[in-house]
Symmetry: C2
Subunit: 135 residues, 2 copies
């Protein structure tokens, strides 16, 4: 996962949490994250698909947390954002070689285990916990 999406989503969610009831516009969020509002809206789109946030369109619209911060686990944020295997891609090895033929299966099993360990650690942390580190 060599991108910035997880960090961006955490940033968005933190802002929403700390802003209480107030809806935040993508422009406002973009100003804090320091990236383009269209990217923020796209990211929010993923978060919304995972029911972590809701949005209201039109004038005065914006985004809000769809559940209490204590109910949002960082593992859910990870799930909303992940698109490629945590530990990287695979090769397309030579099927004529016994190792080449089997390695992707073996690697996938390994990666699944390792990712699970990571997700378990994220699962213990809620957005509320995360936000407590901001003074």
């Amino acid at each position: 996962m060599n991108n910035v999406r997880f960090a961006t989503s955490l940033h968005i969610l933190t802002l929403l949490h700390l802003s209480g009831e107030e809806l935040l516009s993508s422009d406002h969020i973009a100003g804090s994250v320091n990236i383009n509002p269209a990217i923020i809206r796209k990211e929010i789109s993923s978060l919304r698909e995972h029911n972590l946030v809701g949005t209201r369109e039109g004038k005065g619209g914006g985004t809000y947390l769809n559940k209490a911060a204590g109910e949002i686990r960082l593992s859910q944020v990870y799930e909303a954002v992940i698109q490629s295997p945590l530990l990287g891609r695979s090769n397309t090895p030579n099927p004529k070689c016994p190792v080449g033929r089997q390695i992707n299966g073996v690697i996938e099993k390994l990666y699944t285990e390792a990712e699970k360990a990571m997700i378990t650690s994220l699962d213990k942390i809620t957005l509320e916990d995360f936000a407590k580190d901001f003074k």
Copy 2:
């Protein structure tokens, strides 16, 4: 880490392990992984810096495991290969925003924890264990 390096290194090490005492050339390995020999040599270079393998130059040369497969933990392979944060990069947020100002620190702490959980799971598996899945 959206690249293929971990998979490549695992492949290399598995071949070396299963080939016993025999030195393997980068050409031979490249044939099984199905990538360019120069990339294999570069990858081997990292593994060698981490003392996982040794190489002999010149005619008849090649690469060999530098320790017993049971002594090589997959966490070490990960360390040899990792170059960017497991969970992705950070933004360069707006320092005028309280959240923007602090978030990279908070994220780093989180990422470190999550990565540690993942590494712990890799640490339990040796190359020997890994290779047992090949029939």
